[in-house]
Assembly symmetry: C2
Amino acid sequence: MSMKKHYQRPLDFKTGRIDMNHGAGGRASAQLISELFAPAFDNPFLRQGNDGAQLPAPPAGHALVMATDAHVISPLFFPGGDIGCLSVHGTVNDVAMLGAVPLYLSASFIIEEGFALADLRRIVESMAAAAREAGVPIVTGDTKVVEQGKGDGVFISTTGVGALPPGRQIGGALARAGDVVLVSGSIGDHGVAVLSQRESLAFETAIESDTAALHTLVAALLAAVPEGSVRTLRDPTRGGLATTLNEIAAQSGVGVLLDEAAIPMKPQVAAACELLGLDALYIANEGKLIAIVAPEVAEAALAALRAHPLGRDAACIGVVQADEHQFVQMKTALGGMRVVDWLAGEPLPRIC
Amino acid sequence: MSMKKHYQRPLDFKTGRIDMNHGAGGRASAQLISELFAPAFDNPFLRQGNDGAQLPAPPAGHALVMATDAHVISPLFFPGGDIGCLSVHGTVNDVAMLGAVPLYLSASFIIEEGFALADLRRIVESMAAAAREAGVPIVTGDTKVVEQGKGDGVFISTTGVGALPPGRQIGGALARAGDVVLVSGSIGDHGVAVLSQRESLAFETAIESDTAALHTLVAALLAAVPEGSVRTLRDPTRGGLATTLNEIAAQSGVGVLLDEAAIPMKPQVAAACELLGLDALYIANEGKLIAIVAPEVAEAALAALRAHPLGRDAACIGVVQADEHQFVQMKTALGGMRVVDWLAGEPLPRIC
């Protein structure tokens, strides 16, 4: 829609702020779309300008995959990223974890009255860059504004649609005893980066979020091993590695045995966790995946992950085993055994 | 996922409240899913239990349609509906307005700490009933919790995916001079119902929201006339009939001439608007559509709308005309002419 002629003045991205009019559906809403969202996200689908987008369907024989995520992270900007790129990565990853190729994203914004247009633009541009880099266009969207004190800056919900090749089955219920558990890199980076920003902690070595789109890493992995040998893929976000493995164990009706010494962790993350009294196993990641694979392809799978820039530090961290209690257990670095239970105690709110 | 064994006690839907743990991704999050969302929305896709759903693709030759809406309506409960059913209807309608058959919905919830579980259950059950009634399953979702004072009860973002039959083209840019403008029923019901609830106004006759899923009405209309003769469909939500027609006029590069006397409006809505100093042309609707159709099918289209329970009061309210200024004008009931401009002045925030 070209409605510039209607506006007296362009949006003031230096000192301007969101007001309730930007969410009322009238001229101010249209201006926000035409001066911020439309140019940043620009693509032929969004340009259709309707309340939805008309899109080419997946190739014949492919199934559809659909995933959604609400993003309420606080603070909005953190070392290594912001809510904008995070909201693209999170949903691209959820689609990719089912083995699908991400095709399209939708985005809905809930903005608090008074939010600085400069910050909104920074977030939208980060989101646009992430979508461009991932090759997944944002094809439709919605914007609402809530009164000051009824929101918190901006919340972003993204939904992704992808195409699943014929015959591919990857999911949390498909792990079986004997399978091997791989992780694509060091754990805890995202959560520790956000917490350190939130608590205004300055560590000697900066810890950055690992936020990244993992669909090309998934594609590289799947290309390297026979169809069916990758049972489960999941990104260990909220609740971290421990929670994700407990979910998979429950879904598949199996146990997992981890080897603590094999789990990759950056020394500065380990140090920060010790300082903060946190267990890195429960800390969110936004650019890592867990792959549960058949034992005979474990080596090839690990090599494929390591050959990709986002999987350089991939490691084999455990095995799936028969266990009617569906426990996740861990051989500790000191040689003992420990049950890695569902998250209990202090939560880490608003980490994604 | 069946993880009931992990919980000490079931959720207390009488006096319980959402706490930050329900959004932390651990045991409390899993309990909220397994005791509230999963049973309410139950369907085979959601039951897959992954971070996304694997779904049958649209039939061969069909295009995909994708639409998204953030819902921040206040109050959450209003005469004739609540945020739950509204969030289903709104997105089903956006998909249907492109001429597509809605297939799947995703839902993401941003809940404020302290929100009553009883209210959440009421909303989720209303949403589930609306999805069931519409025949469009909620296949995947996400839940986040924000601290008290950082949200407002619950916000719900829904995304819909639909299948567009081969060759069908319906959109806001396709109206042309000579086309006829139809509306499927009385305008202003939703906005006035919400405002009267918000302002605690008691009118002599209760005014209820018109919130409804319109995809079967669209199907009936499209079945009654030749492909291509319905140019544009749009639901006049935020900003009402006036804003929606201005959007279409801008997209299509045409003008619109309305006949005020022909626009259906309930007497109690007209009275309430007079009392509140509002113009019903700018008030949101949630169960009405505007159809712009070729003149030769106008009669058949109107008859098809009127034959459907949701289009009983459909009317022909104007015509599309050539106009380089893209004005929406209206012949008033008193015989004068008035420009129906983009919304200016007082907004009506959080109406959907």
